[in-house]
């Protein structure tokens, strides 16, 4: 055999195989991860279910006859169907409904945008919504004049065969 051949034979073999120890630690690690995930994943999915559950779409509620609504805001009560986990109830809601100069109806939420007290119309005889808690004032359209950082929220509203229907609450669209 030539020198050349010998050199070739003596070149160290580079083996790409995994060592026994490595194989065993990967297997053990994988099995541990699988068991840990098997234990925790169901619980995590269980805990976050409320944010992943499909929202029940809110429906329109018949509130008042069109004819009863005037240019002066009036307070109307209605009940919404509410499903709170295993409690089903029909809590009462309040809306201040007004007809504007163009004859459009709009309904405002009575929840003060300062810290959530209940506002009233014209309680200080100045044609404004007033909050009794820290003195927030709003215009007829719900525009915040003092204290509150945002205008009053508005209900979705539609008129159908002479009746006013209210939907979900949204941010004020009039100011």
């Amino acid at each position: 055999m030539s020198n050349h051949d010998q050199e070739k034979n003596h070149r160290p073999v580079k083996r790409n195989e995994m060592s026994r120890r490595q194989f065993l630690s990967y297997t053990l690690g994988g099995a541990t991860a699988f068991m840990a995930a098997g234990v925790t994943l169901p619980m995590i999915r269980f805990a976050v279910d409320p944010i992943l559950k499909k929202k029940s779409e809110s429906t329109w509620v018949k509130v008042v006859e069109e004819a009863k609504v005037t240019n002066e805001p009036q307070e109307f009560k209605f009940n919404i169907h509410q499903i709170d986990g295993w409690y089903v109830s029909d809590p009462e809601q309040t809306a201040w409904i007004t007809k504007d100069e163009q004859g459009n109806y709009f309904a405002l939420s009575p929840v003060c945008k300062h810290l959530g007290c209940t506002i009233g119309w014209n309680t200080e005889k100045n044609n404004e919504y007033v909050c009794p808690c820290h003195g927030a004032h709003y215009t007829m359209d719900g525009k915040n004049l003092s204290v509150a950082p945002k205008p009053l929220d508005e209900y979705d509203l539609k008129v159908e065969s002479g009746w006013i229907y209210l939907g979900p609450i949204k941010a004020n669209t009039r100011v």
Binding site: V48, P50, I51, K55, Q82, D84, G85, W86, Y87, L115, G116
Partner: protein, 223 residues
């Protein structure tokens, strides 16, 4: 008699080194109020722990009567407060302790701050202390909802609005905490679980870390 029982057990299990390691340490002079009265500031950490123990014990006993359900929570608190012997005391311990534990923790933190005890090598214990602080705030926040009266409801409502104000994740955090889109039945059970299981568990783990680190590093030296 008691001594014999102790010896009998100790012969078999060698328990003396166990409690010696935990309890048998000399208090350095500069933290001993008997030497320098002003050293009472070093008691605030221990007092925080003392009140924490009261919170855990009184809380465990409150759960004997309390029901985390929107129709019955208020009634059960009213009942345990007014109809059960020492109800006012046990609930009072938990009620006032909840504030006192925060006061004590604040004083303890001031002591650590002004003695510079947070400096190397004790930085990690400052961090663990801050985590304990947030867990305590969480216990106060979740516990406050449980009586389900107007104050509880609206305090939680404001807290949820604060959570919601966080950019991007705020609305999700709020919904996750509420367990739905209103503060209702699912919020109360969630807060109850967090209040009596999750946070106390985290608290105990953190306190363990806190104390092990103190044992390892010793109390910081005099000013």
């Amino acid at each position: 008699m008691l001594k014999n029982v102790y010896n009998w057990i100790d012969e078999r299990l060698d328990i003396t080194p166990l409690w010696r390691d935990v309890a048998d340490h000399e208090v350095p002079e500069h933290v001993n109020p008997a030497h320098h009265f002003s050293a009472f500031v070093y008691c605030f950490g221990g007092l925080t722990f003392f009140i924490t123990v009261i919170q855990i014990l009184s809380g465990m006993f409150l759960t004997m009567y309390f029901v985390p359900d929107i129709l019955n929570a208020y009634k059960s608190v009213d009942y345990l407060q007014h109809k059960v012997a020492f109800g006012g005391i046990v609930r009072g311990m938990h009620h006032w302790g909840a504030s006192l534990v925060l006061v004590m923790m604040f004083l303890h933190t001031l002591r650590v701050f002004f003695t510079g005890s947070y400096k190397a090598p004790r930085e990690m214990n400052w961090v663990v202390g801050m985590l304990i602080f947030f867990v305590m705030l969480g216990l106060g926040f979740t516990g406050y909802l449980l009586p389900w009266d107007n104050k509880a409801y609206f305090a939680t409502k404001v807290g949820m609005q604060i959570a919601e104000a966080v950019p991007i994740i705020g609305p999700y955090v709020k919904e996750l905490l509420q367990g739905g889109d209103i503060i209702g039945a699912e919020t109360l059970t969630r807060f109850f679980a967090i209040h009596v299981f999750f946070l106390p568990g985290a608290l105990l783990a953190l306190l363990g870390a806190h104390f092990i680190m103190i044992r390892r590093q010793g109390i910081s030296g005099p000013l």
